[in-house]
């Protein structure tokens, strides 16, 4: 991609990514928070595309929509005020966390700007998908295997955590008090 095209895609995308990311935590409505996170991380896919990583950009766009939809699902299930209509404030330590965040940004930004990075001539596109495939199946096969096993353990563990009665499958006793909605 030419320099101008890269800049045209990168700057607006980066700006929207940061602004929507910040608004995820400032909005009261949970559906909007989930969809703002989708916007932020999805537009990060566009940023990847502008940085000549075609496969990663498209993959990011694909995966984020599924993940964020699931997140909205869960938020509406488990949060007290999903519509944001009652105006509850769901934060604590706002000033301290903002200070920590600013400190982290300053530290990382200082490292980013002040370090003497190796000056390589930017040749062409990033590794294309065939090279990535050979890398995954060749040199990084061990890491790939471990990543696969991690997913499997996470799936099994997640299901065990979430099922009724936990991993032993013990059902709730008959006389357990239920509230008006009838949830156990």
């Amino acid at each position: 991609m030419s320099d101008l095209a890269t800049a045209l895609v990168f700057w607006p995308s980066a700006a929207i990514m940061l602004v929507t990311g910040l608004y995820v935590f400032r909005t009261r409505s949970m559906a909007r928070a989930g969809l703002l996170l989708l916007a932020s991380l999805g537009i990060e896919g566009l940023v990847f595309l502008s940085l000549a990583s075609e496969f990663l950009g498209v993959l990011q766009l694909l995966m984020m929509s599924g993940e964020m939809v699931i997140m909205v699902f869960f938020m509406v299930m488990f949060m007290a005020d999903p519509g944001g209509l009652m105006g509850m404030d769901m934060t604590h330590d706002k000033r301290r966390s903002a200070a920590v965040a600013a400190g982290v940004a300053a530290a990382l930004g200082a490292v980013a700007v002040a370090t003497d990075w190796p000056g390589t001539v930017v040749t062409g596109a990033a590794p294309d998908i065939e090279q990535i495939g050979f890398e995954v199946m060749g040199r990084s096969m061990l890491s790939f295997l471990f990543a696969g096993m991690t997913i499997l353990f996470a799936m099994v563990g997640g299901i065990l955590l979430a099922k009724h009665g936990g991993r032993l499958g013990i059902p709730a006793p008959a006389g357990e008090p239920r509230d008006e909605e009838g949830a156990p």
């Binding site: 890269t6 800049a7 980066a14 940061l18 935590f25 928070a33 932020s40 991380l41 990060e44 940023v47 990847f48 940085l51 000549a52 990583s53 990663l56 993959l59 990011q60 995966m63 993940e67 699931i70 997140m71 869960f74 488990f78 949060m79 769901m90 934060t91 330590d93 966390s97 903002a98 920590v100 965040a101 982290v104 940004a105 990382l108 930004g109 490292v111 980013a112 700007v113 990075w117 390589t120 930017v122 040749t123 990033a126 590794p127 990535i132 890398e135 995954v136 040199r139 890491s143 990543a147 991690t150 997913i151 996470a154 563990g157 997640g158 299901i159 955590l161 979430a162 509230d179 949830a183």
Partner: protein, 102 residues
């Protein structure tokens, strides 16, 4: 005009937004969202390095793949924990889940 420090600075800002979210929100699901933003910033770093410092290293792309996988895994385990906490204690607010606090 876009060079490595620019990309890294953008990623640093995104990371900071994620830190703000993870520290300031009381609900577990919002904390998960903050962590997702932080992992997104890590991915942006890797892509920046791949583009501007080491263009031939496909292992950078593999790193991004693994981090994307980890985003999904972390969300999975996080949501399972939220379901379990909600089932036992009817709340997913981190301020109420303080039984182990010392």
């Amino acid at each position: 005009m876009i060079s490595l420090p620019v990309v890294l600075a953008t990623a640093a800002l995104l990371f900071a937004v994620g830190v703000y979210g993870a520290l300031s929100q009381t609900n577990a699901i919002m904390v998960i969202m903050g962590i997702e933003l932080m992992l997104g910033a890590a991915m942006l770093n890797a892509v920046g390095f791949m583009r501007y410092a080491w263009p031939d290293a496909a292992s950078g792309a593999f790193f991004v793949l693994v981090v994307m996988t980890l985003m999904a895994v972390e969300a999975t385990v996080g949501f399972a924990l939220v379901i379990a906490a909600f089932r036992n204690r009817r709340t997913a607010e981190l301020d109420d889940l303080t039984e182990l606090r010392g």
